[in-house]
């Protein structure tokens, strides 16, 4: 009895082993997003319609960034992710390291069809998102108008929340100190500029609560824990729509950046992955995304076709673009280590 059971188990095991390579070869196209409301919107306008049209099933996954994750996957030769949505700094370093397949721009409709920030040899811009000043209109009758007001503890008493880390925080500190958006990175590239930013942060240090997950600023505003936040603007508008909150965004001095679709090198679904990117960046498909996710379209025609009512809540809206500053990816790739160390030494003092 025991022996026959053992034989059966062995047979089953060897059957599994036989089927494994076959299963790996037939792996579904895997698309990796950032979870939350933005991936829910992607599911609705990209994943579902793509499968319906092409009969290519999509396996979803989500992650929270980090070049190390991608590097280990590609180097181990175990590429189970095909399409990944990455941030601009991951795109730049990963492209230099050869982690991504090259984009055939002719198949994507040409480089000119996209906003210049969304074009790269290794990726196609997926969305344009923003970090901006947000507050709860139900709590602050007369709201702030700029980052300088963020520092005004007399007129706006209470706590503030910023993202823990130097990125966005130092830019915001300088803008609050009167540095015009266009000059922020020039100032930050000098040691005196970095000192100035930290000195400015010193002034409200006891009043800062640091957030790490993108969902936190909305929660902190809603619970009254903080009076103002530096937050992902898309989440503020989503909370307006879904939770009936009067969260408002000040576009003045906001920082915008582009996320990219990339295909990991060595993907066994390379062609379908490129087809997916092509599908997801076509104007008629991408123009439906901002309405759901409040993140801007990167395809210029998609940006024009989008719903007019949503346009003013997007990074790509001309009036918003005029008063905002694009994230300087090269600056952060060069300086993130040193400034993160410095930020943490400062925060612990």
């Amino acid at each position: 009895m025991i022996r026959s059971l053992g034989m059966r188990a062995l047979a089953a095991l060897s059957l599994c082993a036989l089927m494994m390579p076959g299963a790996a070869a037939a792996r579904d196209l895997t698309v990796v997003g950032w979870g939350g409301s933005s991936q829910a919107a992607q599911r609705q306008v990209y994943y579902g319609p793509f499968t319906a049209q092409t009969r290519i099933p999509i396996q979803e996954d989500s992650w929270s960034g980090g070049l190390g994750v991608l590097r280990t996957r590609v180097q181990a030769g175990n590429v189970t992710w095909d399409v990944v949505q990455v941030e601009a700094d991951e795109l730049q370093i990963g492209c230099d390291e050869g982690l991504f397949e090259r984009i055939d721009w002719a198949a994507m409709g040409g480089r000119d069809a996209f906003m210049p920030e969304a074009v790269s040899d290794c990726g196609v811009g997926a969305v344009a998102w923003t970090v901006g000043l947000a507050y709860d209109g139900a709590r602050l009758r007369e709201g702030p108008a700029s980052w300088a007001d963020f520092w005004d503890l007399q007129r706006f008493p209470g706590q503030r929340t910023l993202r823990r880390g130097p990125k966005y925080t130092l830019e915001i500190a300088l803008m609050s100190d009167g540095v015009p958006p266009s000059e922020v990175y020039n100032v930050l590239r000098t040691p005196a500029g970095v000192d100035r930013a930290f000195r400015r942060l010193d002034q409200i240090k006891p009043n800062i609560i640091w957030w790490t997950a993108g969902a936190q600023p909305g929660q902190l505003l809603a619970s009254g824990e903080v009076a103002m936040a530096a937050a992902y603007t898309s989440r503020m508008y989503a909370a307006r729509r879904d939770d009936n909150r009067d969260l408002r965004v000040v576009w003045n001095g906001s920082i915008f950046a582009v996320d990219f679709w990339v295909v990991l090198r060595g993907s066994s679904n390379r062609d379908n992955a490129m087809r997916f990117i092509q599908f997801a960046t076509r104007p008629e498909n991408q123009s439906r995304f901002p309405t759901l996710a409040f993140q801007g379209a990167t395809n210029l025609q998609a940006a024009r076709q989008g719903e007019a009512a949503v346009a003013p809540s997007l990074a790509t809206y001309p009036d918003n673009m005029r008063v905002s500053v694009p994230l300087d990816v090269e600056f952060w790739v060069d300086n993130i280590e040193e400034l993160t160390q410095r930020f943490n030494a400062w925060a612990a003092r």
């Binding site: 370093i93 230099d96 003092r349």
Partner: protein, 399 residues
């Protein structure tokens, strides 16, 4: 002699080893080897010598005074041209960027703009592309990164660095974080362990001394949080401890305070949440040891004339010492690696060492520094464990 029975004993033991073999291979492949590889990273420095093998050798021989000789520059220019567009160049650029911020973009820009024709004056040509190539500190950074082995990451993990002359110095005050983070990590873990012991000991004692009918439901109450995800429990504390949260509401209604207290996004929040998350790890070993002691020794001591307190201190406490040791060790060592909880309920100055290990592993892929920080954490943990083992052995010997 008893030769026959021994050989009969060894055969099943060999079979038992065979049964353990899959687990052994599994943990060696998925646990031991990656850890050793990661720790080895803390002294390896292969990037530069892989991208520019000859330059790395030459710059290592340079005496470090003034600027390196023309041979170094010529070899560098030739190898930089050859490395253009390869991933090796990007790895080398990342490595050099951790020596001097901005080196990455400077190196990549230099590689892009380097003219194809041979150069008469390599030093001047490089300095025309970026004046920093004319500075000694740039080349000193290359010499430090020339590999194949380095002590730079371990020094950095201790807030030390080699200056341009190769002497070990402290990093500037505003960049010194890792020593204080290590001390903070040990301190938070010790405080959490102490709180867990003070809170957990009476609970374990109570459950161990109650009849099973009442004890079992109580034990389930200890186990349910143990089975719940750390993330869920941490988030629950955010709801409870925030400014307008339940705890502050209760304190204000009861008149303990007028202003809401700052219970979260600071050290208080970290301690509360971590103690709650780790408490079962203290209660369960204590309970299992106490269950074995039973009530008899206490009763015997008291029947011999000891007052209850004396009986507890002289009879019960020493017998439960094994549980205290096991519980404290479990809680302390688990606490050392905590990451999610301080991240969500801590403030700017409450991040523990795992936060930095994750940062360098994932965000900047500076695996050398990540490995060095891991090594130092592992060494600190190992030393504390050895100290604990010594202490418990000597106390067991004296008892």
């Amino acid at each position: 002699m008893v030769r026959q029975p021994i050989s009969r004993l060894t055969r099943p033991r060999f079979a038992a080893w065979l049964l353990v073999l899959p687990l052994f291979l599994f943990s060696a492949a998925t646990f031991v080897v990656p850890i050793v590889m990661m720790l080895a990273r803390s002294v390896q420095d292969p990037e530069l010598s892989r991208a520019f093998p000859q330059t790395a050798r030459l710059v290592a021989q340079w005496d470090g005074r003034d600027l390196p000789p023309a041979a170094v520059m010529n070899s560098f220019i030739a190898e930089l041209r050859a490395a253009r567009g390869t991933e090796g160049l990007s790895f080398a650029a990342n490595r050099l960027n951790s020596e001097i911020s901005g080196f990455r973009s400077m190196l990549l820009r230099t590689a892009r703009t380097l003219p194809a024709a041979p150069l008469d004056d390599p030093a001047a040509a490089l300095a025309r592309i970026d004046p920093r190539w004319g500075e000694r500190s740039t080349w000193a950074a290359m010499r430090r990164a020339s590999g194949p082995l380095t002590d730079g990451f371990l020094l950095a993990a201790l807030d030390r660095q080699r200056n341009d002359d190769g002497a070990i110095v402290r990093v500037p005050e505003e960049r010194a974080v890792f020593v204080s983070v290590l001390i903070r990590t040990l301190w938070i873990s010790a405080a959490v362990t102490a709180f867990c012991l003070v809170l957990g000991y009476p609970v374990a004692y109570l459950i161990a001394s109650l009849p099973a009918k009442i004890a079992n439901p109580l034990l389930v109450l200890v186990l349910i949080p143990f089975w719940t995800s750390v993330l869920v429990r941490t988030t629950a504390w955010v709801v409870l401890l925030q400014r307008d949260g339940l705890v502050n509401g209760l304190l204000q209604r009861l008149g303990f305070t007028d202003q809401p207290l700052a219970l979260i996004y600071n050290r208080t929040g970290v301690l509360i949440a971590m103690v709650h998350v780790l408490l079962p790890l203290m209660v369960l070993p204590l309970y299992s040891v106490m269950k074995g002691i039973g009530r008899a020794p206490m009763l015997a001591a008291m029947s011999l004339g000891a007052r209850p307190f004396e009986a507890f201190v002289r009879v019960y406490l020493p017998q439960s010492a094994a549980g205290i040791g096991a519980g404290c060790l479990l809680v302390f060592i688990s606490a050392l690696g905590y990451y999610v909880t301080p991240e969500l309920v801590g403030g700017g100055g409450d991040q523990m060492i795992s936060y930095f290990i994750a940062f360098y592993t994932n965000r900047t892929t500076n695996w050398g520094l990540a490995g060095a920080l891991s090594l130092i954490l592992l060494l600190a943990t190992g030393l504390l464990y050895v100290a604990y083992a010594r202490l418990s052995r000597s106390s067991a010997a004296s008892a």
